[in-house]
């Protein structure tokens, strides 16, 4: 059994602390520019495509994804690329080119809202409820998984991990709305890369480079030659690849049914595109996100394969030896203090990206009750939630949203929400 407790010291904790301060700082900075509900939920439709594009991919790049894909790398080898190259990219391109003109062009603020306009209210309700349900579950799973990792690596009690992570995510989202979530996601994206790229490179170097890795994988009794190929052995009736699937379920099941269903309707990601500043920027959002997505398998699958070679007993029943621990085990093996802190921040950032993406989407769902039929053009500012905005509180533990409730009665349509700096009633 390998000890998984990381050998962290003050430097690592310092890096962690700096990260938390920066994250909340972004929340405060974003808060200063929020004037209307459109600002809060869609960043005022003002963001450039590269920001929304990176946020788009970052909202998807949760830690479950990173740890899970590294585990898949250790278990299935190169075939794991199908989750990216056929299971994501074509659908992202389809979203940008075909779907986005009418998603963004219809000026809706959410996918369920779109369904109401396109079909009817029951459709809206069904989708909103199922989405809210799934979102709460996913955010909860992410949070719990983060707490498990913190316990494993740092020895924090589970409850402490959940409370700290939830408080920070809710803190920055409540403060700065979607802008805050999006700018944080861009930051998280770069931190995740800064943590995983060195890990992949050091690991690769340790096993003798790319050729050395291939050699070792071929020689390993758990892996072998099939682990180095994505498509070999996927012929119908002659399935010999590690995924044990022919090309039919890979192309039509993963590449078409699952992937198109996920990428074109998952509001946690689509919301990022809806907040872009122009239709062109909205269409480019998933396309720009697709480019980093192409290369992410290199920093998840390669560490997975390296772990398969280097960590003895990985994937066995021994304690802490599950494939899911491939990345934490490698971190422990290779990274010096300081770097360890950064990698830890990368993992935490990835978890928070997963939680935040879902919380901000859920929050959005909670507020956007149908606001009448088609609204008059140019009147977006007045389309405000009539209900008291407390979804953040319901979707998590603490919330500062109580402070920013709109006036409850009186004005039939409150001029703007949430705002402290600009109470100007003249706007309505």
């Amino acid at each position: 059994m390998e000890e998984l407790r990381l050998d962290t010291n003050l430097v690592d904790y310092l890096i962690l602390a700096i990260y938390f301060v920066v994250v909340l700082g972004i929340g405060f900075a974003a808060k200063r520019v929020i004037k209307t509900s459109l600002d809060y939920f869609l960043s005022g439709r003002s963001l450039p495509a590269w920001i929304t594009g990176l946020a788009f991919i970052s909202a998807n790049l949760g830690a479950l994804e990173i740890l899970g894909m590294a585990a898949n790398g250790a278990q299935f080898g190169a075939a794991t690329v199908h989750y990216y190259w056929i299971g994501a990219i074509p659908a992202m391109v389809f979203l940008g080119i075909v779907m986005m003109p009418f998603y963004y062009g219809s000026k809706v603020r959410s996918v369920p809202e779109y369904l109401r306009l396109r079909f009817n209210r029951p459709t809206h309700l069904l989708n909103a409820l199922s989405f809210a349900f799934a979102t709460v579950l996913i955010a909860g799973v992410n949070l719990y998984a983060l707490a498990l990792v913190l316990e494993l690596l740092l020895g924090w009690p589970i409850l402490l991990g959940i409370v700290v992570a939830a408080a920070i995510v809710l803190g920055y989202i409540t403060l700065g709305g979607l802008s805050s979530a999006i700018y944080n996601e861009v930051l998280q994206f770069f931190i995740i890369l800064a943590a995983l790229i060195p890990l992949a490179l050091v690991g690769l170097h340790d096993v003798g480079g790319w050729e050395g890795l291939k050699e070792a994988v071929r020689g390993s009794e758990k892996a072998g030659e099939p682990f180095l190929h994505a498509w070999e052995g996927t012929g119908v009736g002659n399935v010999t690849n590690p995924l044990e699937a022919s090309w039919v379920p890979i192309v039509f099941g993963l590449g078409f049914v699952l992937s198109f269903g996920y990428w074109t309707t998952n509001f946690a990601e689509v919301q990022r595109a809806l907040s872009a500043k122009t239709l062109g920027a909205a269409r480019r959002t998933p396309l720009i996100g697709a480019y980093p997505k192409v290369f992410i398998p290199f920093i998840t699958i390669i560490p997975g394969l390296v772990a398969l070679i280097v960590i003895r007993g990985l994937g066995s029943d021994a304690p802490n030896m599950e494939n899911n621990n491939a990345i934490p085990l490698l971190m422990n093996q290779y990274l010096p203090n300081g770097m360890l802190g950064l990698a830890l921040v990368g993992l935490i950032a990835a978890f928070m990206a997963g939680v935040a993406g879902n919380v901000s989407a859920f929050q959005h769902r909670g507020h956007l009750r149908p606001v009448g039929a088609l609204r008059p053009p140019g009147a977006q500012r007045r389309l405000l939630p009539r209900r008291r905005p407390r979804t953040t509180a319901t979707s998590g533990a603490c919330s500062t949203s109580a402070r920013r409730r709109p006036p409850r009665s009186g004005a039939p349509s409150p001029p703007s929400w949430p705002t402290r700096s600009s109470p100007s009633p003249s706007r309505s």
Binding site: A49, A78, V81, W85, I86, I89, P90, M92, V93, G96, I97, V98, P101, F102, G105, S106, K107, Y114, L117, R118, F119, L228, H229, A230, W231, E232, T278, L279, G280, R283, R284, L287, I288, A290, Y291, V294
Partner: protein, 66 residues
Amino acid sequence: MADAIVTVAVTFVTKPKPIEELQGLVYGMANVEEHEPADERVWYRRPSLLGGGVLALVLALNIAFI
């Protein structure tokens, strides 16, 4: 499979939404921006180019790791 059957069955028993109400909501009637800023038309911002580029990249990588 069951999903496909239900989808087709439901489509036949429900009334279609009148076409006038679909403005901006379907691909054929999308709202195009009236005055698209000139800097949106630069070649490297064209969605078809960006999308085609990433598909070509993926194709090449799939062949490399076949």
